[in-house]
Amino acid sequence: MTIQETLEESIKRSEKGHYVLRLFVAGVTPKSLKAIKNVKKLLDDYCQDCELEIIDIYQNPIIAKDGHIIAAPTLIKDFPLPVKKFIGDMSDVNKLILGLDLKSKE
């Protein structure tokens, strides 16, 4: 696939509302659980086509290092571009909706 095609493909997918998210948490702590719950609820409410991967940095320290994950919990939006990082227990829903550019399900 050429760069041009990749770009077009990604635009098409993002128009459909396709999202790739990764949520990094540090072990099973109240903060982690809260973040997972908040993100899942948000995606249920707003997102149709969505991949969410939950990663425990204690199980995958290399990923944490390579991804420069300093704070926990951290939510990374890999797709659609641009890549965005959110930190915290994801309790500020409005900020997330704005930041992720989510549109409510019709």
Partner: protein
Amino acid sequence: MTEISTLITEKELKKCPTGIEGLDELTYGGLPQGRPTLICGNAGCGKTLMSMEFIVNGATKFNEPGVYVSFEEKSEELITNFNSLGFDLKHLEETKKISLEYIYIERSEIEETGEYDLDGLFLIIGNAIDTIGAKRIVLDTVEALFSGFTNEAILRAELRRLFRFLKDKGVTAIITGERGDRYMTKYGLEEYVADCVIMLDHRVNDQIATRRLKIIKYRGSKHGTNEYPFLIDEKGISVLPVTSVGLDYQVSSDRIKTGVEGFDLMLDNKGYFKGSAILVSGAAGTGKTSISGHFVDSCCSKGMKCLYFAFEEPQNQIIRNLKNIGLDLKKWVDKDLLKFSANRPTHTGIEMNLVGMHKIITEFKPEIIVIDCVSNLITSGALLDVKAMMIRLLDFVKMKQITTLMTDLSVIANINDTEIGISSMTDTWIRLINMERNHELIRTVNIIKSRGMNHSNAITEFVIGENGIKLKEMNSTKIGWKTGE
């Protein structure tokens, strides 16, 4: 530094040697072991270099692996930058002696949505420490966190937790911090790192820059309290705790010939004391450098090592000129008995001159030092500073039992002091005056003082010819006219 080594035996606090020349003496053994130390200062003052030396020395000299966590420079950049100092970070990293961690924080990419902690950072640091079994760590600089995260309350709590975490890990840590307006550091890091704080400074006075270091606090240990100049050169940092040198040194009663027959007669027929400071003062063209030349030649011929600080002329010019009065210094240079250090004192600040001179003296280990001429040093600093520097230098060389001959260009030959007022520091003071008589200048020499010996009081004429300096009166009864007689 025997005195200092006895003082290191403080039992209460374990020290972690930095391996940085001078710093371990100032801190009586090094940084507090297993605790964090804060190094703060403005941009470009040498924080990163000092921290890196701590890690590299730990790995190479003390068998203590170390982790360098950088928030500003990538590992590859660090490797390249320190290559020029001869630190092979790449090799050290490959052999698991050190670990370079680059942590990237970009404010614009991060949005905060609720409560968080810095477990990721703890994990990365903890992992790096455990992987190589590190005993030392540097965080350069954690202040970057403040630009990346806006919630200061969380951040401060996390920093507190971080330092406790490092203490629990038992690693000796260096935290660097940029100098701030209100606090020692921009974000008041000193609040967390309470054990030892070192301040670095890079100041420009009269267009001359000097680097200085000060230990602000060191809990549970004594330390040098002054500001100490330090030098960054091709081998890294060296600090000189020169002001700690006192008046407590050994005194020798051995004598050293002056190299001029008549002068020996004037000085008890024996010459200078070994390890004393000799001052030769006189106006331009009175023969100061010739006297120095004679002294150097005579000492070298006895196999003593001489170091010649030339602040006025380059080495080749001095050698050429002295050849004309029958002194061949070239052969001593070839035999490595004589070393010239010729540079303009204005090149660096007064403290740097001192540090530089110390370094050469320590490396070359001379028995004789000639400084030609000290009044030139005035161009590199204020009068008081120059005097203070000379006191320190003389104390230093006297402690090492090095005989020092200084020349001084006195504009007014009759005034009873030198331009920079160092006469009180010298043991023997020889004054040269050109007197006018019958339409010609007559060279004269007299000894104003010479501590601890019967010296001549006569004003003696001398000539400088093809074979060097010759005194007119070689009769010992005449020029041997003694003090108080």
